[in-house]
Structures are given as structure tokens and as C-alpha cells.
């Protein structure tokens, strides 16, 4: 063994100690760097032939554990998505207002009915009438505002989706670049810097979506979506998303597409399981629309409960004409009347002092109209049992009174009843055997005296039966485009249905339920119930199936132009749009005196008797108690009906908003603690402990000193040898 050998051994020891010191100093410098994995220099004895000669620095490696990394990535995407969802839903529920201090939406509802209550003791008070109308307007404004805010929140989720997709693309590009860098650095030795950067990019990407990471021996990684589509390897895929911008009730958004480097593209939405992208898509397409639908249902039923009561009443003096809004009915529609038998409605003509002049009693069961206090009917059988037939019968009956007057039905589905001469006209729903169409009284069904009007149908009880002609398809190109999605958001089918003019509702339902060209493989649209409502039920294999309306260009000719989905309440636009643009009827807004607070009482009254007056509070009482009437509400999932009072449904709606936010918060708290646990476990392996590094520092320092001493010793030995020579 030569002195040179000792010297080179000591030198290798010096190098090894330096490598160790460098690793320790890097570690200490990065003690607080998030995501930094500590370095460790690994050594082995240098063997030449069979002789040991110094030490080799094998590698500077990052101390990490791939299984813990993958657990941490999974927990990270779970937590970031859940946190985002909780944050949005918290904002959504806060829109309902503070339930404790009288400023919530529900207090606005209570205030409306309390105002109607105040009117019962003083129906003639202009101040109280104006107050009640103002309270109704405030409530309707609140519905509109909240509906708008929920859509704004959807838009925000969508905007954020665009940003998140862009960020994901940047990260994918970074990962591809760093893969190359790591491979090059591995060849030259220390790749830890690039590896740390790579890990940071992967971790950030895992916030956005669920990913799995495959480590190659070269040091490069392959990042795939949870479902296995390659996002980034040596080449990267590109995500693209074309946001339509503004959200509106029923707006259907396109999917995110992923295009691989080979150019093949597919939809990504259904592949996402967790992470911010999934949370944003869910918020935009599920949670927020569900809240919107609930709000739409609450707004529609509040309006309809008030309208139902208002239609049983009349203003004082009664108007000379009852001009109905578009009713959704066509003149040729058969009258599907329930109630009774005999199902009846009365039309009353009074003078401007409220004295009874004529009564026309329509018996829908026998199809007769009887005048005044009985006797033989003035009309027996009104030709066809249709809206037009009824209108004809009413004209005959009005003529028979000798006082004139007329009934008309327009091509927009508007019925108008006009009193003759100086007469005043009102509809009276009898207390027993009142006729009902689509679950509404005669006056309400034809919107003759609604207090609240809105741009789209509020009730989806159409009054049509399976045998009724559906009335769509009169113009070429009318079609209904639906998209069916499973509960993960995967598109199952996109059927397009073209209604055939002249066919019945039953035939249209057969088209819709057709397995090949309709929804038949995945669920069923039910036949209309007694009130003319249809519901969609998913098949047993497709729980959570969702129906979205892509297009609906159908127009119900002669009824005011409703589309099929608007009329039957299918899809978000029809359900949640009902909270929008509601307003008190224009003439009532202009003149509070036309608010209908009187209710004509005909029992025991004869022609000439005063049957109503300004002090008559029957209508006010009906409005007051409207919130306690039992009504059929659509369950939040839209699959079935629940019967309860408006008051109760309002409370449940509030509770549901709170519950959704609370459940998201709890999920987020759970996911965050999982993330904390997983990242702490990872950090326990990867992270830097200063004391540990100080000890290593000391050890390498001592080794360095010892190796230097060795060099000095060899040097001295050389000197000694040289001095001998």
C-alpha cells in the first residue's frame, strides 16, 4: 500500500464529507420550503480489484416515499375540491338572508301574508292595500334577485373553470419540460432540484383534478387522470374548454375536452372524480341548479297560492271585463274538469253598487248553463266539450240574460268575459263542487284574475289528458333536444324528438319514451295525471339520471306559444326560470282599488240583492290563509310530489339550502383533515429536522477534519522520508 493510496482515500473522504455537508446545508436552507423533500448523500466503499480504496459518493437522492406521495396527491385533490364546493354553497345559502333578524326571504313571505291579514279588518283602506301590494312586489323582487345571484354564482364557477383549465394546461406543459430536465440531470448526477420542481407541479395539478403518477426508472413521470387518460409524460395532452360566458336558468355548458399529443380528443367531465375542476362542474351543473329549482318552485307556488285565492275574489266594484292572460289552453282543447259531480262554476253580473243582476251557473258535468235562480238550462250541451264550445255556450247564456255581454277566446289562449251595458262581471267558485281544471279553479285556470304574472307558466299542471291533442309541430323544424346524463355526468344519450302536428299527448309521450329514438332505455315520462302533469322517472339501473334540455323549439299554437318543456316543467329553464321577472298585475299596481278583496256570496241571495261591497273581506281572508292551503310541490329531485302547506315548504327550502351548505362544509372538513394527515405523513418522511441535520453537519465536519488530518499525516510522512534522503 502506497502513501499515494492513503492520500487518494483521504481525498475521497474529503469529497464525500463535502457532499454530505452540501446535502445538510441544502436541507437546512429549505427547512421551511413547502413540498421540499430532503436530500441525502449516499456513500459506498470504493473497491479497486479486491482492495478497498476510499469512499464513493453514489448519489444525492431525495428522501421520499412514492406510496405516501400518491396518498397525499389523492387527499389533496379531494380536499381542494371539497373546500371550493363548501365555499360556494356557503355563499349560496347566505343569499337567503339571516333567519334570525327578520331580513331573510322567508320573512318577506311571512310579511306578505301578514299584510293580507291586516286587510281583513279593513279591506277598504287604500294605505293597507298599497302596503300589501308593496310587500308582494318586494317579495317578487327578492325572488328575482336571488335567482339572478344564483346564476351569477354559476357564472363565477364557470369563469373559474376556464381559469383552472388554463392553469392545468400550464402545469402539464411544465411537467413535460421537467421530465426531460430530470432525465438529463440524472445522467449528470444530481437531479434533486428538477425532481423537487416536478413534484411541486404534480402537487399543484392534484389540487385541480384527481391524478395518478407513474414513476419511470429514468426519473421521469407519467401523470394520468384518475380514469387513466395520459395527461403528461414525455409529451402532454391539452385540455380545452369553451365557456359560453353568462349562465342563465337552464343553460347547458359544453364539456372540457382533452386532446392527446396524437390528436385524439374526448370529453373529460365524466372522467373527473375529485379536485377543483370536478367541484366547479358539480356546482355549476348540479348543486346551484338544484337550489335554483327549489327557489323556482317556492316562487311559483307562492305566486300560485296567492293567484288561486285572488281568483276566488273580485274587486269592488267588480270590473266590467275579466281579461285573462295567456292560459296555455287552445280553443280546441277538451275540458278535462274534475270536482263535483256536478262540477260547477258561476259567473255573476252585478251593477256598480254590487247588486246582483244575473247569475250563470255552468255545470261542466252535464254541460249545461243555467240562468239566475234555476229553471231550465239556457244551454244544454255546448257542442263540443272544448274551450271554444264553452265560450259559445257562455255567449248564448249571456245573450239569454237580455243584458248582453260576451265571451271570447283568443289565438293566444286568452279568455275574456265582458259584461253587457253598465254591468260588472265576476267569477264565483262555489264552496262545494267547484270545477277544477289542471288542479285550479275555472277563473285561475284561465288566468282571469291573477294577482301575480310572470313570463312563463308557473304551474305545470296543464289540464291536458293523454287523449288531448298536444298542439306542437305546426311549423316545420320544431324539435325537442334532450341530453341524458348519469350521476357522474357521463352523457348517455342525446335524443331529439320531433312532435307530429295533430297527434295526442299520449302519442308524443310514446315518441319521448321510445327506446331507440327517445329516453326509453334510461327512464320514462309518465302519462299525465288527473291535473295534466307529467313526471320523469329514471330506470332502475340509472339512479341519479338527469335530463337536460338542449333545445326546445316547439310552440303550442293558439295557446300563447308555450314550448313543450316550459308547459310541462321539464328541465332547469322551466323549473328555475319561474322565480324570474314576476310582477304584480299592471292594473293592480297602478290602482290598489282593483286588488280583489271581496268574495261574492250567492247562497240565499236573489236578483237585486247587494252581494258584495267595499267592506267585503272574503277575498282578503282567502289571501291571508293561502299559505295554509295544502298544495302539491315537486320534490327537490323532481321525481315525485309532496303535499304540504306553502309555509312548510318555505321552511323546508331554507333548511335544504342550509343542509347543503352544512353537508359540504362537513365533507370539506373531513377531506381537509385527511389531506393534513396524508401530507403530515409524507412530510414526516420527506421533511427536514434541523436537529438531525445539525448532527449530520457535525458528523461530516468531523469526518472532513479527520480526512484533512489524514492528508496532513501523509504529508508529514513524505517530509520525513524526504529528509532522510
Amino acid at each position: 500500500m502506497s502513501l499515494n493510496g492513503v492520500m487518494s482515500g483521504a481525498l475521497s473522504g474529503l469529497y464525500a464529507s463535502q457532499a454530505g455537508l452540501r446535502a445538510a446545508s441544502n436541507n437546512i436552507a429549505n427547512v421551511n420550503t413547502p413540498g421540499y423533500a430532503r436530500q441525502e448523500a449516499t456513500f459506498s466503499a470504493r473497491v479497486m480489484g479486491d482492495v478497498t480504496s476510499g469512499v464513493d459518493v453514489d448519489a444525492i437522492r431525495r428522501v421520499t416515499d412514492r406510496f405516501l406521495v400518491s396518498a397525499a396527491l389523492n387527499a389533496t385533490s379531494g380536499a381542494s375540491g371539497a373546500e371550493l364546493k363548501a365555499q360556494f354553497l356557503d355563499r349560496a345559502q347566505a343569499m337567503f338572508g339571516d333567519p334570525a333578524n327578520g331580513t331573510s326571504l322567508f320573512d318577506d313571505i311571512d310579511r306578505v301574508f301578514a299584510s293580507f291579514g291586516e286587510l281583513t279588518t279593513d279591506p277598504s283602506s287604500t294605505v293597507r292595500r298599497s302596503n300589501a301590494i308593496a310587500d308582494v312586489q318586494t317579495l317578487l323582487g327578492q325572488f328575482d334577485l336571488m335567482s339572478d345571484q344564483l346564476q351569477t354564482l354559476r357564472t363565477e364557477a364557470d369563469n373559474r373553470l376556464t381559469e383552472t383549465v388554463n392553469r392545468a394546461n400550464e402545469l402539464i406543459a411544465q411537467i413535460v419540460d421537467l421530465n426531460g430536465a430530470v432525465q438529463r440531470a440524472r445522467i449528470s448526477g444530481d437531479a434533486t432540484g428538477a425532481e423537487n420542481l416536478l413534484d411541486n407541479a404534480i402537487e399543484e395539478l392534484s389540487n385541480l383534478m384527481d391524478i395518478s403518477v407513474d414513476y419511470k426508472t429514468t426519473g421521469a413521470v407519467e401523470v394520468r387522470t384518475g380514469s387513466g387518460v395520459l395527461l403528461a409524460g414525455m409529451t402532454g395532452s391539452t385540455l380545452s374548454y369553451q365557456s359560453p360566458g353568462q349562465a342563465a336558468p337552464g343553460a347547458v355548458f359544453p364539456a372540457i375536452t382533452i386532446t392527446t399529443s396524437s390528436g385524439s380528443a374526448r370529453d373529460l367531465d365524466a372522467d373527473l372524480r375529485q379536485g377543483e375542476l370536478k367541484a366547479l362542474i358539480d356546482l355549476r351543473d348540479r348543486e346551484l341548479p338544484a337550489l335554483s329549482r327549489q327557489l323556482g318552485e317556492l316562487a311559483a307556488h307562492t305566486s300560485e297560492a296567492i293567484n288561486a285565492a285572488h281568483n276566488t275574489a273580485t274587486s269592488f266594484p267588480p270590473p266590467t271585463q275579466l281579461a285573462g292572460a295567456p292560459s296555455g289552453f287552445r280553443g280546441a282543447d277538451p275540458l278535462n274538469v274534475t270536482g263535483g259531480p256536478p262540477a260547477t262554476t258561476q259567473i255573476v253580473i252585478t251593477d256598480d253598487q254590487g247588486a246582483l243582476q244575473h247569475t250563470l251557473t255552468i255545470d261542466f258535468t252535464a254541460q249545461t248553463v243555467t240562468r239566475d235562480s234555476g229553471g231550465a238550462p239556457v244551454v244544454t250541451g255546448y257542442g263540443a266539450n272544448t274551450v271554444n264550445g264553452l265560450v259559445g255556450a257562455l255567449n248564448t247564456a249571456l245573450a239569454a240574460t237580455g243584458a248582453g255581454g260576451s265571451a271570447t277566446f283568443s289565438a293566444d289562449g286568452e279568455m275574456t268575459l265582458t259584461a253587457g251595458g253598465a254591468g260588472r262581471i265576476a267569477v264565483v267558485e262555489p264552496e262545494t263542487n267547484a270545477a277544477r281544471m289542471g288542479g285550479r279553479g275555472f277563473s285561475h285556470a284561465f288566468a282571469l284574475n291573477n294577482l301575480i304574472t310572470g313570463p312563463q307558466p308557473l304551474s305545470h299542471t296543464t289540464g291536458l289528458s293523454a287523449a288531448s291533442v298536444h298542439g306542437f309541430g305546426a311549423t316545420a323544424g320544431e324539435e325537442i333536444g334532450l341530453r341524458l346524463l348519469d350521476r357522474n355526468g357521463r352523457v348517455l344519450a342525446e335524443p331529439t324528438i320531433t312532435p307530429v302536428a295533430g297527434q295526442t299527448v299520449a302519442q308524443l309521450l310514446t315518441q319521448l319514451n321510445d327506446p331507440a329514438n327517445g329516453v326509453g332505455n334510461y327512464g320514462t315520462f309518465s302519462a299525465p295525471d288527473a291535473d295534466g302533469r307529467i313526471l320523469f322517472t329514471p330506470g332502475a339501473n340509472y339512479p341519479g339520471l338527469e335530463v337536460r334540455v338542449l333545445t326546445d323549439t316547439t310552440v303550442r299554437q293558439g295557446s300563447g306559444g308555450n314550448s313543450f318543456t316550459d308547459m310541462f316543467g321539464i328541465g332547469d329553464a322551466a323549473l328555475s326560470g319561474r322565480a324570474r321577472d314576476l310582477t304584480v298585475r299592471e292594473d293592480i299596481l297602478a290602482s290598489p282599488a282593483t286588488l280583489s278583496l271581496s268574495q261574492i256570496e250567492l247562497a240565499g241571495r236573489a236578483v237585486g240583492d247587494v252581494v258584495t261591497g267595499l267592506g267585503d273581506n272574503g277575498g282578503a281572508e282567502a289571501l291571508f290563509q293561502a299559505s295554509n292551503e295544502q298544495r302539491s310541490f315537486l320534490r327537490p329531485d323532481g321525481r315525485a310530489l309532496i303535499t304540504t302547506t306553502l309555509r312548510n315548504f318555505a321552511a323546508q327550502t331554507g333548511a335544504e339550502a342550509g343542509r347543503m351548505a352544512r353537508s359540504a362544509e362537513t365533507t370539506a372538513a373531513g377531506a381537509v383533515s385527511m389531506r393534513t394527515e396524508a401530507t403530515e405523513r409524507l412530510a414526516a418522511t420527506e421533511g427536514v429536522n434541523i436537529d438531525e441535520e445539525l448532527i449530520k453537519l457535525t458528523a461530516f465536519q468531523q469526518a472532513y477534519n479527520a480526512n484533512s488530518r489524514m492528508l496532513q499525516a501523509v504529508n508529514e510522512m513524505f517530509d520525513t522520508l524526504l529528509s532522510i534522503v
Binding site: V31, N32, D90, Q93, A94, F96, P99, A100, N101, S104, F106, D110, R111, F113, A114, G117, E118, T120, T121, D122, S124, Q353, G354, S598, E601, G604, R605, V610, V611, T612, G613, L614, G615, D616, N617, E621, F624, R647, N648, A650, A651, G654, A655, A657, G658, R659, A661, R662, E680, A683, A684, T685, G687, N689, I690, D691, E692, L694, I695, T698
Partner: protein
């Protein structure tokens, strides 16, 4: 398990933040006295809170209706008493004439009674003619003098009230009829007055001793007058009965209001004693977290490597 230096600080910070958050939340509750300020905060109790607040608002509305009904019924009670007095005066005047056997003072007494009764029938409360039925805007009794009664084709023609009565809902289940109609309480009275004006027309000018025919007529009228008075007393007592019923229902509604108020308070309001306990717990937690961090941060090998 390895302990990583940075997590020592992070954990300590998380503990401190948690303690601060708890303290803040407890202080917020102590300040507002409410458990939460949104639906999320009330969680499962939100439905009961909203529903109780709805019922509270409704019972307040019913109390308002009941109190107004009470005021109206008091006004009616005074009017019915006045009507009853007038009927008594008619009866007394007729009985006096028979007793004195003279008709000199008869019509003067009747005129006074008529005027008082007409005022009672047309009594007005807050702009409303209370005995007008659903037609409250016009006086239900149209005669303004004895002559109007004397010349009317029929007594019924003098009453223009509507036949329908105003009903007031004073609770979810109870409605009361606000008032009797002018023709119900006044028709018979005015029929007696009409008999007396007819009497004057037949036998007038009045004065001097009664003839046997006059006396017989007056005897018959006296019988009717007695009956009228009894009927008015019945109407007044029915009004009193309604007053009592309204009072009871208002009291019940007020009980209900208290009940719902308590229910709302139970759900909505924070238990201040509990909040105070939580504040001190949170303070303790904050102190403990701070001290532990202070200790931990001093522990380092660095101090010994000199």
C-alpha cells in the same frame, strides 16, 4: 416517526388559529345573542326556526285582527245600547200616553227615540258603517226624519245594507260575524215607529184624551214595542258574546305568540352562560397554545453546538 421542524411551527400556528377562531365565534355569539347569522349556522334547526317564525308572524297578524275586531265590537256595543235605550223610550212613551190617557206628548217622545235609533243604526267606526254588512260605505238606514218613515212605501225600503255580513277570521280555525245588519236590528223598531206615524195620520192632530179606539191601538203597539226591546237586548248580548269570544281568542293567540317566541328564542338565541363558558375555554386554549409554542421554539440543538 420523524418530527419535521417546519411542522412544529405549522402545528403550533394551526392550534393558535383554532383557539382564536373559537374565541371569535363565542364573542360573536355573546355580542349578537344569536347562535348564528345564516341558515348554515342553524343547520338542522333551520326548518323549525323558519317554521316557528312563520307561525309567529301569523299569530301576530291574528292578534292585530282580533284587537281591531274588539274595538269595532265595543263601538257596536255602545250603538246597540243606544238603540235599546231608544226602544225603551218608545215603550215608555207609549205606556206613558196610555197611563196618562193623553196623546199630547206622544209624538215628541217618539221623534227623540227615532233620532237616537237612526244615529245608532248608522254608527260609523273608522269610516265604516258597521251595520251595513259588506256594504260599509253608505249609511245602511236612509230615513232622516219621522216623515221619511211615515211616507216610505215599506219600512224595508229604508234599509239599504247588503244582505251579506262581514266575517272576520281571528284564528286559523275561528271566524266571527263582525256585526248584525241594520235591517235585522232596526226593522222591527222602525215598524213600531211606522205604526205610530200611521196612528198620527189616522187620528191626528193628536192631543187631548184618548178615544177607546186610540187606546186599543196604543195597547197593541205597546205589545210590539216590548218585543222589539227584547230582540234588541238579544242582539246586544250576542254582540257581547262575540266580544268575549274575540277576547278569548286574542288571549289564546297571545299565548301562542309567547309560545312561538320562546320556541324561536330556544332555537335562535345562544345560551349566554354556555357562551361565557366557551369564551373562557377558548381563552384557556389560546393561552395554552401560546405557552406550548413558546416552549417548543426554545428547544434546539443549536444552543448547545458552540
Amino acid at each position: 416517526m420523524r418530527v419535521v421542524s417546519s411542522t412544529v411551527h405549522l402545528t403550533a400556528m394551526a392550534d393558535l388559529q383554532r383557539a382564536q377562531r373559537d374565541l371569535f365565534e363565542a364573542q360573536r355569539q355573546a355580542g349578537s345573542e344569536n347562535r348564528a347569522d345564516d341558515l348554515l349556522g342553524f343547520g338542522r334547526d333551520a326548518a323549525s326556526l323558519l317554521s316557528a317564525r312563520g307561525f309567529l308572524s301569523e299569530s301576530e297578524a291574528f292578534i292585530g285582527v282580533g284587537k281591531e275586531a274588539g274595538a269595532r265590537l265595543s263601538v257596536q256595543a255602545v250603538a246597540l245600547e243606544q238603540l235599546q235605550e231608544a226602544a225603551k223610550q218608545v215603550k215608555d212613551t207609549v205606556a206613558g200616553a196610555i197611563g196618562l190617557d193623553r196623546s199630547d206628548e206622544l209624538m215628541e217622545g217618539i221623534r227623540q227615540a227615532f233620532e237616537s235609533a237612526a244615529g245608532a243604526l248608522n254608527v260609523n267606526h273608522a269610516g265604516k258603517y258597521v251595520f251595513g254588512g259588506v256594504r260599509e260605505t253608505a249609511p245602511p238606514f236612509t230615513a232622516s226624519s219621522l216623515n221619511d218613515v211615515a211616507t216610505a212605501a215599506a219600512v224595508d225600503d229604508l234599509f239599504v245594507n247588503a244582505p251579506g255580513k262581514v266575517q272576520l277570521r281571528i284564528s286559523v280555525t275561528a271566524t266571527v260575524t263582525a256585526a248584525p245588519l241594520a235591517d235585522e236590528i232596526g226593522r222591527d223598531f222602525m215598524a213600531v215607529v211606522r205604526r205610530l206615524t200611521d196612528f198620527e195620520t189616522t187620528y191626528g192632530p193628536l192631543g187631548g184624551t184618548l178615544t177607546p179606539a186610540e187606546r186599543a191601538d196604543l195597547q197593541s203597539i205597546l205589545g210590539d214595542a216590548g218585543q222589539v226591546m227584547d230582540d234588541i237586548i238579544t242582539a246586544a248580548s250576542m254582540n257581547g258574546g262575540t266580544q268575549k269570544r274575540v277576547e278569548n281568542v286574542v288571549a289564546r293567540n297571545e299565548d301562542q305568540q309567547i309560545y312561538y317566541n320562546n320556541l324561536v328564542a330556544d332555537v335562535q338565541q345562544a345560551d349566554l352562560a354556555e357562551v361565557a363558558t366557551r369564551i373562557s375555554q377558548a381563552q384557556l386554549q389560546l393561552n395554552a397554545s401560546s405557552q406550548i409554542y413558546a416552549q417548543l421554539s426554545r428547544l434546539s440543538l443549536l444552543d448547545y453546538l458552540r
